[in-house]
Symmetry: C2
Subunit: 480 residues, 2 copies
Amino acid sequence: MALQKKITPVLLCGGSGTRLWPLSRKSYPKQFVPLLGDETLFQASARRLSGADGALSFARPVALTNADFRFIVTEQLNLAGIDPGAVLIEPEGRNTAPAILAAALHAAATDPEAILLVAPSDHVIPDDAAFRAAVARGLPAVAAGDLVTFGIRPTHPETAYGYLELSAPPGDGGAPVKLSRFVEKPGAARAAEMLAEGHFLWNAGIFLFRARDMIAACEAHAPDLIAPVRASLEAAETDLGFLRLDPAAWAECADISIDYAVMERASNLSVVPFDGAWSDLGGWDAVWRESGPDTDGVVASGGATALDCRDTLLRSEDAGLEVVGIGLDNVIAVATRDAVLVADMSRAQEVKRAVAALKGKGAAQATQFPKDHRPWGWFESLVVGPRFQVKRILVHPGAALSLQSHVHRSEHWVVVEGTARVTVDDEVKLVTENESVYVPLGSVHRLENPGRVPMVLIEVQTGTYVGEDDIVRYEDMYAR
Amino acid sequence: MALQKKITPVLLCGGSGTRLWPLSRKSYPKQFVPLLGDETLFQASARRLSGADGALSFARPVALTNADFRFIVTEQLNLAGIDPGAVLIEPEGRNTAPAILAAALHAAATDPEAILLVAPSDHVIPDDAAFRAAVARGLPAVAAGDLVTFGIRPTHPETAYGYLELSAPPGDGGAPVKLSRFVEKPGAARAAEMLAEGHFLWNAGIFLFRARDMIAACEAHAPDLIAPVRASLEAAETDLGFLRLDPAAWAECADISIDYAVMERASNLSVVPFDGAWSDLGGWDAVWRESGPDTDGVVASGGATALDCRDTLLRSEDAGLEVVGIGLDNVIAVATRDAVLVADMSRAQEVKRAVAALKGKGAAQATQFPKDHRPWGWFESLVVGPRFQVKRILVHPGAALSLQSHVHRSEHWVVVEGTARVTVDDEVKLVTENESVYVPLGSVHRLENPGRVPMVLIEVQTGTYVGEDDIVRYEDMYAR
């Protein structure tokens, strides 16, 4: 058998949903959070589509994200031991069609025959091997020039998903079937009918195709997209290994999904049925379902304690936070260090109302986590007082904060793990565990981790104003 | 009219209930917590029974508490502007009879005619003036030698309270009525009957009497209590203004309530009916009721947000903590920095099960608050790492920590509010805002606040072990 061509995974990870608030927030959305187990959904998606498995093998992945998440993407891939082939940065979200076309054009520049597997990175597919077998089953159709989609065999009459109507019921072997048409999210009655009829599958939004076939499909069905996406790639800037698509050209792209722009119009479509478990984790009710409720229907994670509860999800998202439920029925309770959601399970789809309410009152919790991820590591505010603030700061090995100064605050740094190199005006010195440095107001300073292990320090800021925006940057290795 | 003798309030504040966990914990129970409004229940109780009101006037209060709470008692009275007459420390809880007898003997030592008003300090009585009027109505009965109890006119057939059966239905004027007998907590049917019959009142556990009458009643009905209580007072030690009852003598006292020991046997009992609102806040359902639910039955306090909720209590107990409820019905959710309780309202009396469960898993939250009150102020742990801990420490003006040293840790102190006097081995210096001090491992050190305003500092501990018990104390102004 001929060596199979490697498949390039295209991981879509620029979205920022709020249905899983308070764990998913605009500043750090659900694909980057360990919702089930220790891995994040993004890491699990990348790992699922990596390495080799029999005749199937994967090339390095291409990630499509936005500027805010670029360092999270590289950090999480790095922690998962996966080296990205490219990280394309969308100047703004334009739905899936421009993103997928950009990935296809990017791949075709070196190999028009490149096979791409486009996948959202915030879904859960517990059985990796079964999914990769499904991918392998789609390859003959791809070789024949089809655009392949993956259809999940429905387990219940779901009204929150779109459906794929097949030309014939799928066989037991899971061979590709020609697609008749896409079906919008149905009402409950129609969903029940489709479940019974047997030739309707859930649309998982996962696509397998040759780069040139997707480009051809766009040329045929969405020709207006071609020029601006091509221009945004041609004018893209390379920046610290990221490929920043050109904002002006990108702004010309229609904001449209690949389903609307291409799939619903193309005729060279095949569907690979997938019988394994799958969820888009589109709400806390889905997380509850996917977390494996016990015989009482209870999921208690992160050390949460359930007493006499039924059909209830209790999550503590902080090691120092105890969550106890008593006598609850059909309730979701998710507690983080700075926000607690308690909702009736039937209201899982209304969590965005909580986010809107908090936005309305100006609460940072609507969009921001206490832990703020930066290219060099992260920091979190431990306490804010009238004229002071205390932060914990972690700097990755080899990383450095910008050379900066502040107008309103002085800083006391105490290193508690690892070793820092500290610049204060003309002085540069190493500071290690149990040593401290004073950074006077107005001094030009920089914090670096020259070591091999993460460096953690406690920063005590004092001054009349301790906001993040009191900063003058002189040099920044991350081009901020 | 002759000048009325001053009444000495006796505030019972040694209890530590868990039914309002996570806000009430063994280390800092509900009477010391601002459950309703800005005042704590203890402060509200002390204020209610202070000053003068027409012919009624109060002497300085006597507080009965245990050693753990002694500094909380004096701090809270101090903040309320109330100077205690005495703080008696019970070596261990022996229920109300020994405590009340101790207060009576203590008062009788200087004035056997002293009039004492004994009151729990964890109840809520919103209308102070009405309650003081009720106290005034009891004075003639006291002058006639009666022990006076206060009976709350029931508003519903409560099964969680004991009742007082009156010899006749109370009149509209609220004049004292002779007590027929005490009635144990009834079943639901009996409670409904008593409510209908009209001559049963709730037993509020509040008593008004002359010191010598209570002593005589104990001599008659609980003679075995007299000798050990008297001995514990005679051998009591005065310690920083506290009167520590002698533990050996105290251990001889029966553990018995004043109702069982005396009231149910005495015949010189009158009941003053009280028509005003009263609650023992015996559970979160009572707090919900007393907090004034809106037309949907919702109480959302501390910035909590309720969306489409009914008959629900949502409390955020930390300024940095957002709590959002969606579509809840009959739910209690109380969130603190380190613990969250979510319970069906009907399970309010089962909160102690949550505490037991956390004790079982060794969680500090079962009994301890993150903020630890000490005689000199308080501290809270902000973060604990593998070999470090960060604390915020507040020291009251004029207060000082013990002279101490540590075997396992060094400390970095950064003053962020006020001024500290710091001793490190032979050196003593003032350290003010934005200044820091290093306290090496093993050095003998002391922290004082010589100023007029509270001093706050951030302490960063580093070392192989950062537990509270790594401390050698050399001198301590609080005799610990």
